[in-house]
Symmetry: C2
Subunit: 339 residues, 2 copies
DNA sequence: CTGTTAGCGCTTTCAC
DNA sequence: GTGAAAGCGCTAACAG
């Protein structure tokens, strides 16, 4: 690689001082038009670019924000990012994304790297492993130092920081209620293990809705999917025991998998079994029939998250952390019977 | 936010010099155990973290690589990233991702930001808009300066830089051949507009396969999907004209959409129509029946890409840019008739 | 053992 | 008009 060109180099070339070059490139009126032009031309020709590390070190501001995500395979996270980018770009910030891949260790590393000077603020959604370990010590320092940080979706209430979440419980209540209203009597829940916060919240909504209608929760109708194992087989176990006439699944993959299992066993959707998923991604839209689903508005979530963060970064005074709860809505498509 | 703690602060606190503090924190044997301990304790208590900008400015090495992607909605890109992270982490590098969102302007900005000192090398897959504009001037400078850069998947042959691509043509030939072999007589192609390189290459494979078998290419069997419009409707147009008995689609979404249209019109898959897609993501796997598809091995692609990049970054001598072509394979599932 | 110094690339104030 | 100097936070060679 060719040696990087710096102000120093250019200065030597023209036998002037570094500050003269700096000013020339900034088109300062202090410098003679003639010199300015020559220097600018030379700089362009040699692809001069100010070293951003130096600049950022200088003005103690990076104008970039870091995002630490567990994964981007899930469509939901992709849409959140779109939202984040929308407002950050508008407000003059850049975004850098690092993935924890659901790993605790990588999450810690990513956060370390971001907070050691390279970003002005942080957006985080917690990894599964971290949730499982229940170890959040890597956030403590940041919170104590009032480092600008906003958590979204997978958050932890231990922390005094801005948070943006969706109302998982209500969303799930709505979904379950809908199944009850269209006449389902045996409603199954396909969810995550208990350490996944959103899974737990969605389960809570399901339970509440069932109980509100004076029914008992039937444990045999609840599947906790262990993602290290074959998802489909675990759902098949459900069908081996009982045949539900309604299914609420806490994410797209579970919902589509459930639909496939049901169909393979000869059930018609929605005539025999109605299915509702969570998160409105391509899987739900392109399923046949398209899935009725609780839509999460990832885009708005991203926007809101970024707004909170930039407000905090730019505010001089401290203010109390906010918790924004976004509501969901039920998008009714063809995987559920009509009333 | 609390003021950042620096070596200087700590030095003042203990009334020693900055370098003493630096050495203490590095546990240098030059410093008395006593002082070291006190300083280390103090640093820990106050959450001292070396400012990475300063460190990186100092050693002129960032140990991070930048990735510029058009989007992460496509599962393929997610898997590539996994591959990239695998080898970069192994070799002691960090990864930062920026999204161009298929926009030319954002691609230029991302690249600017990364190359102005914040990363040691760059991995890029070109945005659609850039391909359409056919304007690659933002790469010229980098190439001329021999900045370490590797392009993957969506590449441009104008540039002398390392590239990793898959063999789109062969993959498509194989897919089309397979359809021919299982007895399809009217094979449709669902592809992108011509300015998308990979779409064009896959089309070329399709055409070659058809012609190799002594058949004529029927223009009415080719759909060029304009993604700004409704995808499904465009596919329906195909069925309005002719009824294919085989479909080759250049990506997952087109393939699944085609399957849905076919099924809605009462055709059975694969009995009446066989369908093959490209890219092996969740959409293909969770489709019913699961899609036969050309698998792209995104993970290997990511690994290879990162390897090339790091090799280039770390090599002292210059060496000729390499072009690595990864082969695909056909994963036969249930959306195609068996022989 | 501890401190001084120079330097990474850049900006900015103040002198000439 | 141009340049010298200080400083951002850190490292490392060298001096004491």
């Amino acid at each position: 690689m060719k040696p990087k060109i710096t102000l120093k180099n250019i200065a030597k070339e023209f036998d002037v001082s570094i500050s003269t070059v700096s000013k020339s490139l900034k088109n300062s009126h202090e410098i003679s038009i003639d010199l300015k032009q020559k220097i600018q031309e030379y700089a362009k020709k040699h692809h001069y670019k100010p070293n951003s590390l130096a600049v950022r070190l200088q003005n103690q501001q990076t104008k970039t924000i870091g995002v630490v995500l567990p994964n981007i395979v899930h469509h939901f996270f992709s849409t959140v990012i779109q939202g984040i980018e929308e407002v950050t770009n508008q407000r003059g910030y850049n975004v850098m994304i690092c993935l924890s891949n659901e790993s605790y260790e990588k999450e810690v590393l990513n956060i370390e790297m971001f907070t050691s000077g390279s970003v002005d603020g942080l957006i985080v959604s917690i990894s599964k492993e971290t949730q499982k370990k229940n170890d959040y010590s890597h956030f403590n320092d940041l919170i104590e130092d009032d480092f600008p940080i906003v958590m979204f979706d997978r958050v932890n209430d231990k922390f005094e920081c801005d948070k943006v979440i969706i109302d998982d419980v209500s969303g799930s209540i709505n979904a379950t209620n809908h199944l009850i209203e269209i006449g389902c009597k045996k409603i199954a829940l396909i969810t995550t293990p208990k350490h996944i916060t959103v899974g737990t919240l969605r389960r809570r909504g399901y339970v509440k809705a069932i109980q509100n209608h004076g029914q008992e929760v039937d444990i045999d109708l609840i599947v906790e999917v262990d993602e290290r194992e074959n998802i489909k087989e675990q759902i098949e176990d459900l069908f081996d025991n009982e045949t539900p006439d309604g299914i609420f699944a806490v994410n797209e993959v579970y919902a589509v998998s459930a639909m496939n299992v049901a169909r393979e066993r000869g059930f018609k959707i929605p005539e025999d079994i109605s299915i509702i998923g969570f998160t409105d991604g391509p899987l739900s839209r392109l399923a046949l029939p398209p899935l009725t689903t609780v839509v999460q508005h990832g885009y708005s979530m991203g926007k809101k998250t970024a707004e909170l963060l930039i407000n905090r970064i730019e505010s001089k005074e401290e203010f109390k952390p906010q918790k924004v709860v976004l509501s969901t809505n039920l998008k009714i498509r063809k995987s559920t019977k009509s009333l």
